[in-house]
Amino acid sequence: MKRGQIKYSVLSAAAAVFGTVLWSRRQRRQAPSGDSGDAEAAAVLPAAASREEPEKMRREFSANVSHELKTPITSISGYAEMMMTGMVKRDDVPKLSEKIYNESQRLIALIDDIIRLSRLDEGSVGNHAAEVNLLAASRRVADRLEHKAESFRVCVTVSGEDVMILGDEQLVDEMIANLCDNAIKYNRPGGRVCIWVGRRGGAPYLTVSDDGIGIEPEHMERIFERFYRIDKSRSRETGGTGLGLSIVKHSAAWHKATVKAESTPGKGTRISVIFDGKGGE
């Protein structure tokens, strides 16, 4: 076996093990408490995939992780090999180096998201629940994503009132950022994204809505699934990992919050996170 092959099989084995760990931990955590992300999502989204056999889903997930990691690696390794062995014309080197760089960035984003999800699964995040101001968190996310929004020619606004929840600041931040990021990416030039924070029936309520491309009904019940993408090439172009909404779902579950998704194709999408009265654990 050559060195390159060893490296690859270690990678795929790691991916498979990673997938297994993610799932077995998730199952363990689910069983006693009954507080699972899937159940939360299923309460809102009819016929969610959580009804499927866990073993089958676990297998599918590790196959997916393996596939998602191998795809950018194939390009990185292939372009590098061609450059190394003189198959590439000198003038093409900058263009192909850029491809290697972009594929590496894609891989980094993917690994970050997988690690984020695995931490959520094993419950090793957010052990220190504290007061979090949802409006202030939303403003911070909007500031951070301003540059990206400009490049997509989309305008992001934040409105509402100061609402405090007991939660994990970083998880809340990531949750809002993922929702806002999707709303920017799956939009059109001149589009708008509105983050609203308030209370409904006493419960803290956060909504991210856009007037973007919307989601067809047949995809609605699957958008929270890991690696589920409606338009794979668009997701790729905009740097999506296919894990963003899954992270949102799990962060919400940690806060005992419910996620509600509504969408009209061609009109836009609204995703709401409804916290319970106190929030946090």
């Binding site: 596939h67 795809t71 194939t74 292939g78 090999e81 003189g86 198959m87 090439s233």
Partner: protein
């Protein structure tokens, strides 16, 4: 024409670049639907198929190719991130000629492409005017007189005769006969063509130089 069906844009471009540098004409597609819409069965020399495609998947494409008489004979290489033994056995049993798992080495990939193209060349006698070439016996005759050629000269002549009437790029000849891909070694081809022409005498004129491209075997009956 070599057809490539792969949904990942970056890998599609990678394969297209590798094919081009090896001198092959390739067309790439992101979906099964666009592939079937554009494919010309009589021009297809090889199909390279990814399995996990949006819409119709690669294994379904393979079954469709195998079940239609005009496409049943086209060689197919599966190129997939599904790399377990089970996946490979399944793909090969469905009728794929070869299976390469991602991530793959470009040199290995191109060697597998060459192997498929070679295996599917017909073994019958090739003729061009007074020139006769026996692929199986590796024998060349001009006007009934056997000519002694080196292995490389023989392969060069066979490849050009199989594509009589078509301009073949130097890079393709280099890849097929010498196993090189890319680089600046194309003068090797010129040197061997010169020697081949002189051995073939008057029949050597049937090998035409195509300026800036490579060589073409004159089409004769």
């Amino acid at each position: 024409m070599i057809y490539v069906v792969e949904d990942d844009k970056s890998i599609r471009e990678l394969v297209a670049y590798a094919m081009d540098s090896a001198g092959y004409e390739a067309e790439t597609f992101g979906t099964a639907r666009s592939f079937f819409a554009a494919m010309n069965p009589s021009a297809a020399r090889l199909v390279i198929l990814d399995i996990m495609l949006p819409g119709e998947d690669g294994l379904t494409v393979l079954s469709r190719l195998r079940s239609a008489p005009e496409t049943a004979q086209i060689p197919v290489i599966i190129m997939s991130a599904l790399g377990t033994e089970r996946d490979k056995v399944h793909g090969l049993d469905l009728g794929a000629d070869d299976y390469i798992a991602k991530p793959f080495g470009i040199k290995e990939f191109l060697a597998r492409v060459r192997a498929q193209l070679r295996r599917h060349e017909p073994k019958a006698l090739l003729t061009s005017g007074r020139l006769r070439l026996h692929p199986a016996g590796r024998k060349v005759e001009v006007g009934g007189q056997e000519i002694s050629l080196t292995a490389k000269e023989f392969e060069l002549l066979e490849y050009l005769m199989r594509r009589a009437g078509v301009a073949v790029r130097r890079e393709e000849l280099l890849g097929v006969v010498w196993g090189y891909s890319g680089g600046e070694e194309t003068r090797t081809v010129d040197v061997h063509i010169r020697s081949l022409r002189s051995k073939l005498g008057a029949s050597g004129n049937a090998i035409e130089t195509v300026r800036g491209v490579g060589y073409r075997m004159e089409k004769q009956l």
